[in-house]
């Protein structure tokens, strides 16, 4: 389903990001353009088969989000290759496609289209999305009047309405109030039970233990360990 081979991602970092032509020329004349190579990922290889739930753990800046971006096709690896078969729904940051001047209803269709859902699918599932989000009549109110919890609930409902082949989850289970969190966790488990391959990033070891079948541990862009959830979590905890 997903096969990553020797994936490396290199960022070129300048101390101050040069974003204007004048600055660039000035720095060039001064001979001050220095790039520092920064490897966000180095030689990461792993394989995920259909229906598996892979947990990714590591400290901040370990390269977890970069890895997810590479898999979802947003970022091209500098070297190495990633093979992905199937549709991907990325839940990297919920609601990034929302327009706050539009109503909830309009945003369902806009965000759904961005996630790659078809028109018929969205029309058919609209009711389900609206119900799951528990927004009631707020669905016809512009998003700028929503509370942040409401926005998140809507985003979660849109992202999980589909049964994708691959679901990429980056720390999003803490959405809404306790009741909604419970509900969303149930939905996630439902999806995982339905044969969806899941890549799951979390800082909470208990969540990883509960939901994942396999795990990998990243540290400073390198893969420290790969194996079953229990092995990795035990090693990571020490």
């Amino acid at each position: 389903m997903i096969k990553a081979e020797n994936v490396s991602v290199k960022y070129l970092m300048t101390y101050d990001r040069i974003q204007s032509m004048k600055e660039y020329l000035v720095q060039l004349v001064k001979g001050k353009i220095q790039y520092e190579e920064f490897w966000a990922l180095r030689d990461v290889s792993f394989e995920v088969r259909k229906g598996e739930v892979l947990g990714i753990i590591g400290h901040n800046g370990a390269g977890k989000s970069t890895l997810l971006k590479v898999i979802s096709g947003i970022l091209k690896p500098t070297t190495g290759s990633v093979q992905v078969n199937g549709t991907i729904v990325p839940m990297l940051e919920l609601g990034s496609g929302f327009d706050f001047d539009l109503t909830g209803r309009e945003n369902v269709f806009l965000n759904g289209a961005i996630l790659g859902y078809s028109e018929q699918f969205l029309k058919g599932k609209y009711k389900e999305i609206a119900e799951f989000s528990e927004l009631g009549q707020f669905i016809d109110v512009p998003l700028r009047n929503y509370s942040s919890g409401m926005v998140m609930r809507l985003a979660f409902s849109i992202a999980t309405v589909v049964q994708p082949d691959i679901l990429i989850v980056d720390e999003i289970l803490a959405v809404g109030d306790a009741a909604f969190q419970e509900k969303s966790k149930k939905r996630m488990l439902e999806l995982m039970g339905g044969g969806t391959t899941v890549l799951f990033v979390s800082h909470s070891l208990s969540q990883i233990r509960e939901m994942c079948s396999k795990a990998i541990w990243l540290d400073h862009g390198e893969m420290v360990m790969a194996g079953t959830t229990a092995q990795i979590c035990d090693a990571y905890a020490h």
Partner: protein, 482 residues
């Protein structure tokens, strides 16, 4: 995509092609085959003198067209009735008379431009030297007419002297100026002659490509054409949603809302109309329509490029989170401006009706010009959005460049004031060709000459292809700079 769908699509494409080819033949009519033009006349400033027997007024010229249908000349009778005859002839460089028309002095009105037609159109070779000769077999002092000469030409604001290449010869003596005359000419296009062969050839190519697509589908292989079509199907809905979003949010919190799409070009036109019809004297026929058609096209260009410029940087939040082909962003921005363009056609139509411009079938050719304009703007959007990612200065620079571009496009001034040596520069400007096309279709109500279509296509496709290449080469680096 199934083979059946591909077959159906191909059949539709071929049918549309045939319908368009026939419709185009009907709409463009005579303009496909030839173009009639009147050559510029010099301002008549002084009479040459009585045309008496034995005198010869000879004006050499270089033919510019294929046929001369007639000649317009200002003739004067010295306010009396003359019983003389005048021969107007066209002579080639060997002295052979190609055509001759006889005018009777009694019929000539004083100080009126007279059209002299030849029985048969005079066949001439472009680029070859000929002469227009006026003689009279029986004119005598007190019983003769005269033609006029001059050495200046009228422009928008003043009479300017012209460099006279062909001096008027009276009895073989070179004069200071040129005869006041204007030829009605006709040029033939090879394209019109071979139109149906061309259509057949293109049709065969299209059919061949369709057959190729069907074969590829049957064998289960993908091809560029099919990939493009399936991308359209797949991302068409997203594109519509993004366009709808832009359109809905644009006027969301303004009182007049969508009305601004009509009002904006209309108000700009009124302001510029007042300024340019009082401050500058312009002799452009149907100036309001001339102005508005230029403004509508250029407003679209400026809006679409400015929006396209921001399309990647402005959607940074999305681009770094969700994978969507990146070309969607600039293209959808240009399409949302295109909706505005369509809306601003309504005031354009209103001005057409108000100024009494007849609406002819040629208006159906307008979509061609507009599609070329949209294609050009998408190309510009690709280039600008790419530049913007790497250099944020582009947005400020573009403000200046687009202003310069506006002055470099004949929007509110006539083409005739452009100095000849700058004309090459103007012809490199895609907007010049597209706006010219739109104006011919709207104001003159005829189809432009075949060359104008080719120029519009080039003006649209070359920037589009270049933009797409630049965008594709750099799109993987976007995310590192957002």
């Amino acid at each position: 995509m199934s083979e059946k769908q591909v077959r159906k699509g191909c059949a539709i494409a071929l049918a549309v092609y045939v319908v368009l080819a026939v419709a185009f033949y009907w709409i463009s009519g005579d303009q496909l085959h030839f173009r009639d033009e009147n050559t510029d006349a010099i301002t008549a400033s002084e009479p040459i003198g009585e045309l008496v027997q034995g005198m010869e007024i000879r004006q050499p010229f270089t033919a510019q067209a294929d046929e001369i249908l007639g000649v317009d000349m200002l003739l004067s009778t010295y306010a009396r009735e003359n019983q003389c005859r005048v021969f107007v002839s066209i002579v080639d460089k060997n002295g052979l008379t190609l055509a001759q028309t006889e005018l009777s002095g009694a019929e000539i009105e004083d100080n009126v431009t007279r059209t002299v037609s030849f029985v048969q159109p005079v066949q001439v070779t472009p680029g070859t030297r000929y002469a227009l000769v006026l003689t009279s077999p029986d004119g005598a002092p007190g019983n003769a007419i005269t033609a006029w000469q001059g050495s200046t030409i009228a422009t928008a604001r003043a009479e300017v002297p012209v460099e006279i290449s062909d001096r008027l010869l009276v009895n073989g003596d070179a004069q200071e100026g040129m005869l006041h005359y204007s030829f009605q000419t006709r040029s033939y296009f090879w394209f019109g002659t071979f139109y149906w062969y061309f259509i057949l050839g293109m049709g065969l190519l299209l059919a061949g490509y369709c057959a190729y697509l069907c074969r590829m589908t049957r064998q289960g292989r993908s091809s560029l054409g099919l990939r493009v079509i399936s991308a359209f199907q797949r991302y068409g809905y997203l594109m519509r949603q993004l366009v709808a979003r832009d359109f809905k949010t644009k006027y969301k919190r303004s009182m007049l809302g969508v009305l601004w799409s009509f009002l904006n070009p209309l108000l700009t036109m009124i302001v510029q109309y007042i300024v340019f019809s009082t401050l500058f004297k312009s002799d452009i026929p149907n100036f309001p329509l001339y102005l508005l058609s230029g403004i509508v096209c250029f407003n679209f260009f400026s809006e679409a490029t400015t929006m396209g410029l921001q399309s990647i940087v402005g959607n940074a939040a999305l681009i770094t989170k969700v994978y969507v082909p990146k070309y969607i962003y600039p293209v959808s921005r240009v399409f949302s401006s295109a909706i505005n363009l369509l809306l601003s056609l309504i005031p354009l139509l209103a001005v057409m009706l108000l100024t009494g411009t007849p609406i002819r079938p040629a208006i159906l050719l307008l979509p061609f010009g507009l599609i070329c304009l949209v294609g050009f703007c998408i190309g510009m959007g690709f280039v600008l959005s790419t530049l913007m990612v790497f250099f944020r200065d582009t947005q400020f620079l573009w403000g200046v460049v687009s202003m310069l571009w506006m002055y470099m496009t004949p929007i509110f001034y006539p083409e005739s004031i452009i100095p000849a040596h700058y004309m090459t520069l103007y012809k490199c400007n895609p907007m010049y060709h597209i706006i010219r096309f739109v104006r011919i279709v709207l104001i003159e109500g005829v189809s432009p000459e075949p060359k104008a279509y080719a120029l519009c296509l080039i003006a649209s496709f070359v920037p589009l292809a270049l933009g797409a290449i630049i965008f594709k080469k750099n799109q993987d680096k976007f995310i590192l700079n957002l």
